[in-house]
Amino acid sequence: MYLRSDERGPAMTNRLALRIALFGGVAVVLFGVLFFRLWLLQVIDGEKYLAEAKNNRTRSFRTSAPRGEIQYRNGKVLVANRTSLALQVNPRKLPSDLRERRAELAKLAALTHSTLKRVRKTMHEELKLAPAAPVTLRRDVGHDLVYYLQENQARFPGVEVERVFVRDYPDGTLAAHILGTVGEVTEEQLKEPRFRGLQPGDEIGQGGIEDTYDRFLRGKPGLTRVQVDALGEPTPNGRLFTEAPSPGDNLKLSIDEKVQVAGEAALAERGLPGGFITMDVHTGEILGLGSFPTFEPALFTRPLTQAQVDETYRSPAAPLLDRVTNGLYPTGSTFKLITALAALESGKLQLGEVIDDPGVLEIGGQEFKNAGEAANGAVSLVQALEVSSDVFFYTLGYRMWNTGELQRWAHALGIGRPTGIDLPVEDETLLPSQHWRNQLYKEGGTDRPWSAGDNVQLATGQGDLQTNPLQMAVAYATLANGGTVVTPHLGKEIDDPAGRVLKEIDPKPQRHIHINPEYRAAILEGLHDAAQNGGGTSFEVFGDFPIPVAGKTGTAQRPPHLDQSWYGVLAPYPNPRIVTFVTMEEGGFGAESAAPAARKILEAYFAKELAHDASTEEEESEG
């Protein structure tokens, strides 16, 4: 007790020593944990974290590439690009205050003639696809609006204007049905292998040849990678990498401008829903393809108004439907060419054989009559084609009713099966057969099995047959070229932006079939007489046409509609280069609507020859 406790020597008892030793032990353990963790993060997993850090601080901006042009076969531009201004909202730069944010979006909605609800929906959907990326509110905004926004930038934080490429159609509605449109890639499409590497917001061809040849037309977007900070703002001098966008390649079509213009004009002149196709019989190159009524492809480069939606999507005239490739019609007598070939090739008809046509054929108590109940008397094949004797072909149909030969030949010529055309959609067509109807009957889809009457109907392009001008054109071309089933195609070549040819588009024929040249000659003769011999069905239309042609009319009964007018023509006879098919719904007799339109198309195609003929005639008359 002499010393105060704090003046005694070091108060180290054993107990205290133990406690301090334990304290030191805990310190050693804690430092061990820290060192181990540090070593784990930096030495063992360092590479992983370095990659994460690098990934963290860069952001890539894509600059869209101009899409390739689409041209006529002569190089004239059919579809080009123009730049347009798109209104974008950067969600990160919008006011964080909810009320201010709402007010700004409402103002933007008013300026873009939209509603707050729609703007929010767009933003919500886009942000789901690409979080934190700018959202395009409206494409193709006017300069007035852009100037207004720029002048009042302070009032619209987060609003940006971007220059984008938009499709431009200098020829208006021309070839609208084959072109298709361009639009943002959808969520489903991104999963397809052909769109690998694309990102939400990238534009691709949607439908038509824009879709088929998308990989050539698309081009490669440019890429700018910049360093960003934690808020996603680019840092000064932070540009790491820039790759300029490379424009898409140009697509040259086989479409002949003159033919296309003439065909569409002919359809529009008559004003009936219908379509035409003109194709090279040897190569399958399509020189013209049009459908009526038509539409403005430019319509789809900006948001549609309700009136426009009603007009395009809900109109009974279905302007968006391509009646040439996706129509489903009976063909009427234009089918007789196929029946004739099938009967000859399968031995059910001999060349020169004469069949009596009293105007009516009775099979199993059912009467099949000629159109207008005309009686043609005894007719050979050539005469039967010339006057379009139904009874003659009813007879052939009856002869083959349960042999399947008619179906086999029609199928071989391409009826009821995809043609392989370079368009994304070909509808399911129907070539009625014994097997098909009996199957349907078994399943309860119809009230009777296959009968002779079905085949008799098919022989004249009636009954259950559902095909379209494209398939008929292929069938006619096959006969005309002597047996090659061509692959119809619209694309002719791919050129790079400088105009050098990168790729010739020349799809292989679908198949070859053997056609007896004598049969071919006889059938073509019949068709030639039908068009240009005195008693022929389309003599009125083609009788004075200076170039020899072979053409067949068709008048398809399609209740409850009025008769549908058809015309198929091969020219020049006897060695045709092209086939033209025209159909017009409710157009009446073949010679009434379709044939005159076909003549206009041929006039356009043979314009040079016709001009030459005219001048020599003049010379002759002068001489």
Partner: protein, 398 residues
């Protein structure tokens, strides 16, 4: 012969002619302790110089200049404390304790509010945060109470008394609100009690109570509808258990700090550092400065810093054993506990194994109050060391 004597200049046994070093007391200081502390603050200035150039527009050396001044002031304060016999503080314990509590309380009245909490006074040159210096004051006062009360009351009464004395200022700090510093106060209290010889059974009871309290605060209170912690505090405390991708979220910050440190690999990224340079890691000059070191200087730099802390704490523990009296033992123990707790929690938070609690890294994190307080603590350690050395030599202090 005479000349030889003169050359050797051996002082006569009883005539003292102390040299300059002797006069300054340098031989009696713990050189390793002083050097490791000075090295840490130097490393801090060096790191801030490289990492915070762009932080304050127009003054690239804003943080560097200030931290350097705090460092120098701290070293001076450390030296001055070295020359004072720490035992005086024992006598002043009531005054120190009162000053501690009053200064913390005054913050509520005159304090400067930053980010929703009042922790500091705004002075002309810097903002002074009393709770930082309070850490040392608490050690000094509490150690005094423990020594003094060693004979009063039963063991349980004493334990409860120490706890109350320690936790009262902790509660004041918690209300500022400053959860991190409150936890440091708690750690200090436990460290002093531990070295002071409180029974293991008592610690077991305290531990059980702590677990119960944690459950009550984090689980029961929010469920009943009377949350004790502020939302962000609770989120920070639990976020290291579930990292998140939301940049405004505590889990995101911790994940970014982890990426920063990991990406430093063995030798660091230097000026190519991105995580801590481009704001991915928040508070990079204060709470997350260890992440900056990890990214910029890699394992080599981070391990060097950790080694300096290990050295610091080793010397502190050594001084615990050297102390000439129990008061010194308790004070050194409290300071050692304080330093160990802060280093482990802060570095652990940077490494993603401890919750975010807002505890600065002593001597490294930018901040005058923290740097000064830590140097004061080291100065007290030096004083204990010097007194021990002097008493070993059989001498009294000046």
């Amino acid at each position: 012969m005479y000349a030889t004597r003169a050359r050797r200049a051996r002082p006569e046994p009883f005539a003292v002619h102390p040299g300059i070093a002797e006069r300054l007391g340098l031989p009696y200081m713990d050189g390793t302790l002083a050097i490791s502390a000075a090295a840490l603050v130097a490393f801090s200035v060096f790191t801030l110089a490289q990492a915070t150039k762009q932080d304050v527009p127009g003054s690239p050396y804003y943080f560097v200049d200030r931290q350097a001044i705090y460092g120098v002031l701290g070293i001076v304060a450390m030296y001055l404390l070295t020359r004072i016999d720490y035992s005086r503080f024992r006598e002043l314990r009531v005054g120190i304790y009162t000053f501690l509590c009053v200064s913390i309380s005054l913050v509520f009245v005159f304090g400067f509010a930053a980010r929703g909490s009042r922790r500091s006074f705004e002075l002309p040159f810097f903002s002074f945060q009393p709770s930082e210096l309070g850490k040392v004051l608490l050690v000094l006062a509490l150690a005094g109470f423990v020594i003094d009360g060693a004979r009063n009351g039963s063991e349980w009464q004493r334990t409860v008394r120490y706890l109350c004395l320690g936790l009262f200022p902790a509660a004041l700090v918690f209300l500022q609100p400053d959860l991190g510093t409150a936890l440091v106060y708690g750690a200090i209290t436990l460290a002093v009690m531990y070295v002071g010889g409180v029974r293991w059974t008592h610690f077991a009871v305290i531990g059980a109570a702590f677990v119960a309290l944690t459950v009550a605060v984090l689980v029961v209170a929010p469920a009943v509808g009377t949350p004790v912690l502020k939302g962000y505090q609770e989120q920070r405390l639990t976020s290291f258990l579930h990292p998140s991708a939301d940049p405004s979220d505590a889990g995101y910050q911790q994940n970014q700090a982890k990426i920063a440190i990991g990406s430093g690999e063995k030798t660091g990224r230097g000026d190519r550092a991105t995580q801590t340079r481009l704001n991915f890691v928040p508070e990079r000059h204060t709470d997350f400065i260890f992440a900056v070191i990890g990214e910029r200087y890699g394992f080599m730099g981070a391990a060097l810093v950790l080694s300096l802390y290990a050295l610091l704490i080793w010397r502190a523990l050594r001084i615990v054993t050297l102390s000439k009296n129990s008061y010194g033992t308790l004070v050194a123990g409290g300071i050692a506990g304080m330093l160990l707790f802060q280093v482990f929690v802060n570095v652990g938070m940077n490494l993603g194994i401890m919750p975010i609690t807002g505890i600065p890294l002593p001597l490294m994190s930018y901040g005058g109050s923290s740097v000064l307080a830590t140097f004061v603590a080291v100065g007290v350690l030096q004083s204990i060391h010097m007194q021990a050395r002097l008493s070993q030599k059989g001498r009294f202090a000046w």
